[in-house]
């Protein structure tokens, strides 16, 4: 690690406020003065709040809760279905504006991005530039954005959360102890509920307390994450903002879904994993990729969730191998204390399909190649005749499930600057 003194970086973190809800309020002026939320389809049981506007948030409506829970707190809540293609267009328009100032733009999900503006002419301390971007987003997109300005990515992100909506927060080497350190430790990037509970159990409630704990001690509690969080808390993060275009390198391909009913048996899970893996494998093939690590994520009907992953002997883009591995992970890790509400499969550790594979004497590799050819043919059929034209037998035992098309409904989930397993929370 090194630091060039006198050439302090200036990094912006831009966060489109209540993104989905703000776009809907732009198009539906009649919702602007009502508590409103963008939510999944209640009939398909995806009835979860995706984003609430500020009026709804003020009544306690939270991202991720079920519509009925939200309605208990806020009976007058208006819910609207999401329009992902429109949100994507707005996200791209915002990025185009960022692109007028720098080519170092690292998107973090659909609604957030880091910008390294160190080399932007006339940047000063970055605040005026942030205000200019804020003004343009308001005039050109009709929505608001909060921007954090700081000397590293982690503090810039804290800055964008610090004051909302439509605000700029400057966090400097001079003021970070006053602004950042008193904040609850859970406000730090990658401190999720589990890590927060662990830290609080050790008496660490604020980011400042975390920064002042010896890193060795943090490592002994949290493993390698401990040191990283200490670096984050002390403002010592040096990770660069990825240049635009570079971020296009996909790090994982995954699919998850909230199922039309709770999953109650191994057979339910196996079927769902096949449906999801089918779409993950198809997307891998579409992108010309294979992957070596299969991850399974489970959320039960009390909304407790966990993720497990396993490395495969050979990279794969085959439904059967992905689903098989995911199911093995499931059987090893789930004890059926509760029904399952949502489930996800993803594949990471990606490589190109054009890379050669090691052949073996038993002909296993040849059989895998045959299967790839078969699945390619299925992709081709599905592209021409629709997703339902070829189906797996395992998916036919439940008509509700068989109708799911996760590939079409797929939404890209962000992967941050941590290679894999980094959780991203919050609403869009």
């Amino acid at each position: 690690m090194f630091e060039v003194r006198g050439l302090e970086r200036i990094i912006l973190h831009s966060d489109l406020n209540c993104f989905y809800a703000s776009v809907e309020m732009l198009y539906h002026p009649e919702y602007r003065d009502k508590p409103m939320a963008v939510s999944g389809d209640p009939d398909q049981r995806h009835g979860i709040i995706l984003t609430a506007n500020y009026l709804a948030k003020a009544r306690g409506v939270r991202t991720g809760e079920a519509i009925w829970q939200a309605r208990q707190k806020c009976p007058s809540l208006v819910t609207v279905p999401p329009d992902y293609s429109r949100y994507l267009r707005f996200s791209q328009m915002a990025r185009k504006i960022y692109g007028d100032y720098t080519d170092q733009i690292e998107p973090f999900g659909i609604d957030e991005a880091w910008l390294d503006v160190t080399a932007t002419p006339g940047v000063g301390d970055g605040k005026a530039l942030a205000d200019e971007i804020r003004g343009r987003i308001w005039r050109e997109l009709g929505i608001t954005v909060s921007i954090g300005v700081s000397f590293n990515k982690v503090f810039a992100k804290i800055g964008s959360d610090y004051k909302k909506p439509d605000a700029t927060t400057l966090i400097t080497r001079e003021n970070y102890r006053e602004i950042v350190w008193p904040l609850p430790v859970g406000d730090l990037l990658y401190v999720g509920p589990a890590t927060r509970a662990k830290l609080e159990g050790k008496g660490i409630y604020t980011i400042g307390a975390l920064a002042q704990t010896p890193p060795e001690r943090l490592s002994s509690w949290l493993g390698k994450w401990g040191r990283m969080l200490w670096v984050f808390a002390g403002g010592l993060d040096h990770s660069p903002v990825t240049r635009m275009g570079e971020e296009a390198a996909i790090q994982s391909v995954g699919n998850s879904c909230t199922t039309p009913r709770d999953l109650e048996s191994d057979e339910d899970v196996r079927m769902t994993l096949y449906i999801l893996s089918d779409s993950v494998a198809a997307r891998l093939r579409e992108q010309g990729l294979r992957g070596r690590t299969v991850s399974l994520s489970i959320r039960d009907n009390m909304l407790a969730s966990f993720t497990r992953q396993k490395k495969l002997p050979d990279p794969t883009c085959l439904t059967e191998e992905i689903a098989g591995e995911a199911f093995a992970l499931f059987q090893k890790n789930y004890r059926w204390e509760r029904g399952i509400r949502s489930i996800g499969v993803s594949v990471s550790d990606l490589s190109s399909r054009s890379e050669p594979l090691q052949l073996d004497l038993l002909g296993k590799q040849l059989r895998r190649e045959e299967r790839e050819a078969l699945e390619d043919a299925m992709d081709h059929l599905r592209r021409r005749y629709g997703n339902q034209c070829v189906r797996r037998g395992v998916t036919l035992s439940d008509a509700q499930f068989a109708g799911m098309d996760p590939k079409r409904e797929h939404v890209i989930h962000p992967v941050g600057f941590i290679p894999a397993g980094g959780k991203v929370g919050g609403g869009f």
Binding site: H28, P29, L141, I143
Partner: protein, 83 residues
């Protein structure tokens, strides 16, 4: 105000520039655009939308037209005008 989608006759030149020439109001009246005064990306908070905003002069009046994803709209009065 209402978002009123309108027919527009426009010239798309070889440089990729779009110039609206004629607007057809929802009641069928046609207005020739005398001059485009300003072109910029903009949102319409009044009626809900975001795209390219054209400030145009029609006769002695200045008005704005928006082009959003290949469709044109104007910020219309609450009730459709009747003559």
């Amino acid at each position: 105000m209402r978002k009123v989608f309108v027919d527009v006759l426009a010239r798309h030149d070889a440089q990729g520039q779009t110039t609206p020439l004629l607007v057809v109001w929802e009641d069928g009246r046609k207005f020739e655009i005398d001059r485009v005064l300003d072109i910029r990306p903009a949102a319409s908070r009044k009626v809900g939308g975001a795209g390219i905003r054209y400030l145009v002069r029609i006769g002695r009046h200045e008005t704005v037209l928006f082009e959003e994803e290949g469709r044109w709209f104007v910020e219309g009065k609450d009730a459709p005008e009747r003559e």
